[in-house]
Amino acid sequence: MEVASLYREPDATAERVAPALEMLDVFRIFSSGPVETVALRGLSMEVAEGEIVTVMGPSGSGKSTFLHLAAGLDVPSAGEVRSFGQPLGRLDEDDLARYRSHRIAIIFQSSNLWPVLTAQENVETSLRLAGADDVRRRAVAALAAFGLSDRGRHRVSALSGGEQQRVAIAAAAAREAPLVLADEPTGELDAGNEQKVLDALRRLRDDHGATVVIVTHSPRLASAADRVIELRDGRAA
């Protein structure tokens, strides 16, 4: 006799939409001898695909720890981090390295680039490290998309801070990283350059389909985001 399945298979045509980033009851506790510091205590949050979200909070609220966990650079003491439905805790070191090189881009406050290489060479190198082919054409296209064509042959040490950040964003776009994590990306910029970087981050979402998570103190960046997540004492306030 035929036994019927009680499992309801997913509708093949229905698209499954997992959030770009999820934290589920995440704890991160740092131990130094007998001293324990709780950086995150039960953080739960999610970022939908295509959102631009800023994460704000006072120093010590857990922002950097949050970013490191999202980037797979650190692992939670308890709870789970998922990216596009994939629990990062299930990935081994090789998979995590692939996650960091293929699925995300991280933009720090500064020093995202190799200073002795040109802007063009920087974007090409980050593409090569991600295993991409056709790196020359893609790098040229990405720099053009972010208004940096005339800077392609300059060493990045000769570029302004704002231009350097935009080159880093162009590299993220060239790699087609679906999730971009930025840590105070305008921390060292004046208001005019901050606006340009913000425009570039928006373009990353609008034209390249990226989800963008920005950790920042800047009220200007926060006001331009779709949503603000406040961290306070290791939790979403």
Partner: protein
């Protein structure tokens, strides 16, 4: 009134000694009735998993008594406890914990034989069909997706023909859509076979599928409630 399937009376569990002493459970009182759906909820570290392991006989309480159908489980010797567990209690963990070198079918067949019970029930092939994996009988766990592995783990637990199924964050490693489908499957199987179901979870949506919930905090039961 019939006796509960399982009863915890004054159950405490402590790990370590002296300064390193950790109290995982404090004087827990609870019962599990035949056929009920119970959720154990609470934050990470609240004692959910320890309680589940005590119920399943994997951990002996430091203090107190666990009774299985009126028989004190904790005074049985280790071998007897293993037999009680194999015969009556099935486990589904967060990860599927299948034997990696055995096929899906062999994983089920092994569990069925290890349970040594004579209750009637479906065999390995029918169980795989019930969880929608008739076509994967010969697959090794490494060849299955996370959701498929978890369905094999559920089928394997049922191969023991349990009267009590214990699930520890059964969808913790699955994306939310696959998780929903796996929970629907567990509910359907429970309706069909009538075993008691205890699920430890930190997810309120998962807990809401139960008829009753018990909330733990720092190893104590702080709240009990029923779902309409």
């Amino acid at each position: 009134m019939s006796a509960p399937l399982l009863r915890c009376h004054g159950v405490s569990v402590e790990y370590g000694h002296g300064d390193a002493r950790v109290v995982a459970l404090r004087e827990v009182e609870m019962t599990i009735e035949p056929g009920e759906r119970l959720a154990l909820v609470g934050r990470s570290g609240s004692g959910k998993t320890t309680l589940l392991h005590v119920i399943g006989g994997l951990v002996s309480p430091t203090d107190g008594i666990v009774e299985w159908k009126g028989e004190p489980l904790s005074t049985l010797d280790v071998a007897a406890r293993g037999r009680a567990r194999a015969a009556g209690i099935g486990f589904v963990f967060q990860g599927s914990n299948l034997f990696p070198h055995l096929s899906a079918f062999e994983n089920l067949a092994f569990a069925a034989r290890a349970s040594r019970n004579d209750r009637p029930g479906p065999g390995p092939s029918d169980l795989l069909a019930l969880v929608g994996l008739a076509g994967k009988a010969d697959s090794l766990p490494g060849e299955l997706s996370g959701g498929e592995g978890q369905r094999v783990a559920i089928a394997r637990a049922l191969a023991q023909r349990p009267e009590l199924l214990l699930c520890d964050e059964p969808t913790g490693h699955l994306d939310s859509d696959t998780g929903e489908r796996v929970l629907d499957l567990i509910d359907s199987l429970q309706s069909q076979f009538g075993f008691s179901l205890v699920t430890a979870t930190h997810d309120p949506d998962v807990a809401a599928r139960s008829t009753r919930e018990v909330e733990l905090e720092d190893g104590s039961i702080v709240r009990e409630g029923t779902f309409a």
